[in-house]
Symmetry: C2
Subunit: 198 residues, 2 copies
């Protein structure tokens, strides 16, 4: 079965690739950038990951699992919609401004402007974001159904607002707004929820 064992750490290489893609985006990171960042010849990268696009997808999946999974985790671990929402936004603000890591959200910023050739990558990340928006709206709808929020609440509008703030946080973080201000803005946003509490 197994031939010659790989001499480099595939996981470490994936992490380096993730950092590069997170910082510069899919098209903004060239193969020679990756060669430099991973310290590997391009043929070794192709052998280990298949293609630049496959490597990117793996990097995003790792991101979703570790960094970007805060929304799913908050949803699973917090008992009230308010705490789930608050934690989601606060963790977003934190993850988007981690020292030593690229600013902002990889899913929001890694494939915004793409040539037509890479539409597939763009649409793929778009689907991730749409899914996040839907799950936030779903959370608010549940909160209404469970009487955490007043029955006259427009769940879609409120959920859309939180999703918009979540994605806007990525832009603001990239623009250099410090974590402290991001967290303060999250607190301000939460009062939208409190205004509709049952």
């Amino acid at each position: 079965m197994a031939g010659r064992p790989r001499e480099f750490d595939r996981d470490e290489a994936l992490r380096r690739a993730q950092a590069a893609f997170w910082e510069r985006g899919y098209e903004g990171t060239s193969m020679s950038d990756l060669v430099a960042a991973l310290g590997l010849a391009s043929s070794r990268i192709y052998a280990a990951f298949g293609s630049k696009e496959a490597l990117f997808r793996e990097a995003v999946e790792l991101y979703e699992r570790e960094e970007g999974g805060f929304a799913d985790r908050a949803l699973a671990e917090e008992s009230t919609a308010r705490e789930a929402l608050r934690r989601t936004l606060r963790e977003a603000a934190t993850v988007y401004t981690r020292p030593g890591k690229p600013l902002g959200c990889m899913v929001v910023s890694a494939a915004t402007n793409c040539s037509a050739a890479n539409d597939a990558v763009l649409r793929w990340l778009e689907q991730h974001r749409v899914k996040r928006t839907k799950s936030i709206i779903g959370l608010v709808k549940t909160a209404v159904a469970q009487r955490e929020l007043r029955p006259d609440t427009d769940a879609q509008a409120l959920g859309d607002t939180f999703a918009t703030v979540l994605h806007g946080l990525s832009v603001q973080a990239r623009d250099g707004v410090p974590r402290k201000r991001l967290l303060a803005l999250v607190d301000t946003t939460m009062s939208l929820f409190d205004g509709q509490r049952a």
Copy 2:
């Protein structure tokens, strides 16, 4: 002074370039894309606009003057901070979802992921956004000073929130959230302002 007159409409060409850059971003739009979109040989484009980057900057300046200038106009024409803010967000939602035009905000999405070679373009758009954020915070501060908002209002946090929603709107619009939902979300957001009214 004047030699042979130009055979094509420079303004029309600029508009076509704007549409291309708006849709695909700076790096996502290649010179051959521009050649196809403007119907002009590349040398004619260079003769008329100087360089790809200069053309892009002109296109963004046109955008700021016509489409993106809603914030400045709202600020100048509306008498209360509330109406200026509300109009800014509503016009953003409208401009970002104009039929026949690219979705989202050109300043937000045209240079998010860029190779290191074009950092200058990326930073330039970043400055535009930072300036917008600052002017929104300034607007809220003025509203506090003029007793339109309660004196205990955290103007920076509230302003940051509106700026975050404004930029988040661009992401949501690109993801296909229809204008109607965007406008509903703007209404929801405005209740943040009303909660702090004097």
